[in-house]
């Protein structure tokens, strides 16, 4: 119990935000919580949010780790496209499902390796390093599909997008499983601390004997792997690889999810669970906009305003204002960040 408390306190702002947004939608749309079973699959708006949020949630897992090392991965959208295209290509070429999946996942790992190599070995700044793959990656994906949407009808592969296991949609299961696995690996081993250490002070970590180079590469590879999973899901969902549009601009959503999840873009302390909730918040906003029936030209403004409100409420300044008003000088263990007022 005592171990859970700081954890709960850490994700509380995200949980509250999610609750408020879900509350808003269900107020607007009273049928929100009705969940039924259609075609042997759970069916309802909350399920949609989970299901549609899964790719961004997956991306957010890798992105959280990358951002914790003070990096950023702009290429995840393009990597999704590459891996989706690889999967579609593999299955249409007649490879077995296992081989196809292996190829798609390896494609993600290779992309991650490339990014990691640029960042850790060549010392190129992460934004630029991953920008290269962001630009070129979509070209690679199109090269595989030759510009067309490569469709397939293999039930096994389609299962990853629109299948379900015990009535739960597969993407949700994959997302939850990946999140749980990543959390477990990162927190049960020393990886989490080492990643945070290199994010906060790379040089000091190297001097302390942390194998920063390998760790950085591994983190980018994880991001590539997550993007590969997301890419497979996205392709399986529409039964085709759309090299142009798969994952387009999703990197921004993933970064947003991480930031809403409270991980600083300057690296350091991170929380995977909070990022996952962040991904759900974003998807809830998107779904809410779709349900609202507003004309689409307002979509961006609504999204921007909601995001701004969320971020303003979560900003350190606001938090200290809240602490100030709640008259809790001990700050409940929270570290007051001294603002140096010039």
């Amino acid at each position: 119990m005592t171990v859970m408390l700081p954890f709960l306190r850490r994700i509380m702002p995200q949980l509250i935000t999610l609750a408020v947004i879900v509350g808003l939608i269900s107020f607007m749309f009273p049928g929100f919580f009705t969940i039924s079973i259609a075609n042997g699959r759970l069916y309802g708006i909350p399920i949609d949010i989970l299901n549609r949020g899964a790719p961004v949630a997956l991306l957010a897992i890798g992105m959280t780790l990358v951002i914790a090392t003070r990096g950023i991965d702009l290429s995840v959208g393009a990597v999704m496209a590459i891996c989706g295209a690889t999967a579609a290509w593999g299955i249409t070429e007649g490879y077995s499902l296992a081989a196809t999946l292996a190829m798609a996942l390896s494609a993600g790992l290779v992309c991650g390796l490339w990014n990691g190599f640029l960042v850790a070995v060549l010392g190129i700044q992460p934004i630029v390093a991953t920008l290269i793959l962001m630009v070129a990656g979509r070209g690679v994906a199109q090269l595989i599909t030759e510009g067309a949407i490569l469709t397939f009808n293999h039930e096994g592969l389609i299962f990853f997008g629109s299948g379900s296991l015990f009535t739960v949609p597969t993407p949700v299961i994959i997302g939850v499983a990946a999140g749980a696995l990543a959390t477990l690996v990162v927190r049960r081993t020393a990886l989490g601390m080492l990643i945070e250490a290199i994010g906060i002070n790379l040089r000091a970590s190297t001097l302390s004997g942390v194998n920063t180079r390998v760790l950085l590469i591994a983190v980018y590879m994880t991001s590539g792997l997550c993007a590969a999973l997301a890419g497979i899901i996205a392709a399986a969902d529409i039964r085709g690889a759309d090299a142009n549009n798969a994952g387009l601009w999703l990197e921004l959503d993933a970064i947003l999810a991480v930031v809403i999840g409270g991980t600083s873009l300057l690296g350091g302390r991170f929380s995977l669970i909070a990022s996952l909730i962040g991904a759900l918040i974003i998807q809830a906003v998107n779904t809410g906009i779709l349900l609202s029936g507003f004309p689409p030209e307002f979509n961006l403004i609504i999204k921007a305003v909601i995001i701004l409100i969320i971020l303003i409420l979560q900003s350190p300044t606001m938090r200290s204002v809240v602490i100030f008003f709640s008259r809790d000088p001990a700050g409940a263990g929270e570290v007051e960040k001294e603002t140096v007022v010039p």
Partner: protein, 509 residues
């Protein structure tokens, strides 16, 4: 109500309070500074000295109390305000911008302009003039980041001096200076004093306190212990005031008699790196402390960095014991060989500010064990608490982010990190920098204990007394060459000074 009149002290703090979560850093502290005096501020690591001056200059928001300048209540909202009031400050960690040139750093905020444009020529000329007072001949168009910590420190001081119309505050300005620079600084301080400035001076070097200060104020655990006239107090009583107890032993100013013999544990032959340190030979025996002496910028840090693989050596070989060659291309190689290295610049090379004390202490050990086998929380906590006790690290608990600790305590955490790995050869670069008298004695005792347990140490220090106290051998570095080696009874301050100063290599080799 206080009136503005001549009898008022120049700068006065009344009942200043500052509370951090879990710590009361300042608890109603009074402090007053007269014009034309040097007022020393003393106290153990974490006593609240830095916090007090940050409150005085508005860098921190106070939680209570008043600040009066010449009798008027002032409320500086930040450094700019403080500068406008004529208060110049050098904060504890060097606070300059490594990406700007020396001249730009000196003139930031008040650059000479002509028709609204900065006149670079004027700016550089002024910078050269200012630095001439400090006997520093550097290219002022060089990036500050390429200068050693010491040079940066001097520049920070020079900047603060040019900014201070009434008050100059120096937080541990001498921590990384050698005696020559310190002398220079004191000359400057004296001339400012003549001009009627009030100077606040923080240092852990009692000699310097006695040399320069007129009055002193002692803080302990955020509380005011007292203000005294320096000439009325003796060393022992001062230490007593600071620590609240007797200091058991002071440093013995003589070298070790014992000279290590037999097989060296590690030996380095022709080790060097072009452009940073000339090839040198070095043998390290078990249970031996090798001191390294030299002026600032002489290449002491470079020696350590080449040994630890931070910068790759491009000549020479290293070996363990008799034969086996050591491959030292990176810190990881060095750590695998049983080395440890506590770097000089703790802010950029040492602490991981946002990680907790516990994690910082466990880091090097964890890195060596590998990421798979996480040291269980319980063990980490036990280890951390153990070192917090042993090294007397002042922190409410092991879960405090290390960046929030006072400077000296951060230094101890770094030491703890390396002790936890139990290295056979530990390199310490300026380990006592910024450490209070009590802890200073403890660290020296620790060094002696470690070497008694058979650990080999290479200690770089600017404090020659300290080197004399614990070294079995002292290597003197000058101009990137190892120029002399003093053994046993030869290790005296005088010998070292003459070896450091000697223009030719005629000293004992």
């Amino acid at each position: 109500m206080p009136q503005s009149d001549a009898s008022q002290p120049l700068l006065r703090a009344r009942g200043v309070r500052k509370i951090f979560p879990g710590t009361i850093a300042l608890d109603g502290v009074d402090f007053s500074l007269e014009a034309g005096e040097v007022h020393a501020l003393l106290g153990e690591n974490g006593a609240g000295k830095s916090t007090l001056i940050k409150c005085l200059t508005g860098a921190y928001r106070r939680d209570g109390g008043d600040i009066l300048l010449e009798g008027e209540i002032i409320n500086p909202k930040g450094t700019i305000d403080a500068q406008a009031y004529g208060i110049g400050t050098v904060y504890q960690e060097v606070n300059l911008l490594p990406n700007l040139t020396i001249a730009e750093n000196l003139s930031l905020g008040h650059q000479p302009t002509r028709f609204g444009m900065i006149s670079v020529r004027d700016m550089n000329r002024r910078a050269r003039e200012v630095l001439a007072n400090y006997d520093l001949s550097v290219d002022v168009t060089r990036n500050l980041g390429s200068c050693s910590v010491a040079v940066q420190q001097v520049i920070a001081i020079a900047r603060a001096v040019t900014l201070s119309g009434k008050v100059l505050i120096l937080d541990e300005p001498t921590a990384s200076l050698d005696s020559h620079e310190v002398g220079m600084l004191f000359d400057v301080i004296r001339s400012l004093k003549q001009r009627g400035l009030g100077i606040v001076f923080i240092s852990h070097f009692l000699d310097q306190i006695f040399e320069i200060s007129d009055r002193l104020t002692v803080l302990r655990n955020g509380r005011l212990v007292g203000t005294e006239t320096t000439s009325d107090i003796d060393r022992l009583r001062l230490v007593n005031l600071m620590l609240g107890r007797e200091l058991e032993e002071e440093i013995r100013p003589h070298g070790k008699d014992h000279t290590a013999t037999g097989e060296p544990r590690f030996s380095f032959t022709g080790f060097g790196r072009k452009g940073s340190i000339a090839p040198f030979d070095l043998a390290i025996h078990s249970g031996e402390v090798v001191g390294v002496a030299g002026l600032l910028g002489s290449g002491r840090t470079e020696t350590a960095e080449v040994l630890f693989g931070v910068s790759h050596h491009d000549s020479g070989v290293a070996s363990r014991g008799e034969g086996t060659d050591l491959h030292l291309k990176s810190p990881r190689d060095a750590i695998a060989a049983g080395f440890g290295f506590c770097p000089e610049d703790r802010k950029t090379d040492g602490v991981i500010a946002d990680l907790t004390v516990r994690e910082n202490i466990a880091l090097a050990l964890q890195a060596r064990i590998g990421w798979m086998r996480r040291i269980p929380d319980r063990e980490q906590r036990a280890m951390a608490n153990d070192y917090i006790r042993k090294l007397d690290i002042r922190t409410p608990d092991a879960e405090k982010p290390v960046g929030l600790l006072s400077g000296g305590n951060q230094q101890k955490v770094m030491l703890a990190r390396w002790l936890a790995t139990n290295p056979s050869f530990l390199i310490l670069d300026e380990p006592t920098r910024g450490i209070d008298v009590g802890a200073h004695a403890e660290i020296i005792r620790l060094i002696e204990d470690l070497c008694a347990q058979g650990m080999s140490l290479l200690v770089i220090s600017s404090e020659l007394d300290e080197l004399v106290a614990y070294s079995h051998r002292v290597i003197v570095v000058r101009d990137r060459h190892h120029v002399a080696e003093l053994v046993g009874n030869e290790i005296t301050t005088d010998n070292m000074v003459s070896a450091i100063a000697a223009p030719e290599k005629e000293t004992v080799i």
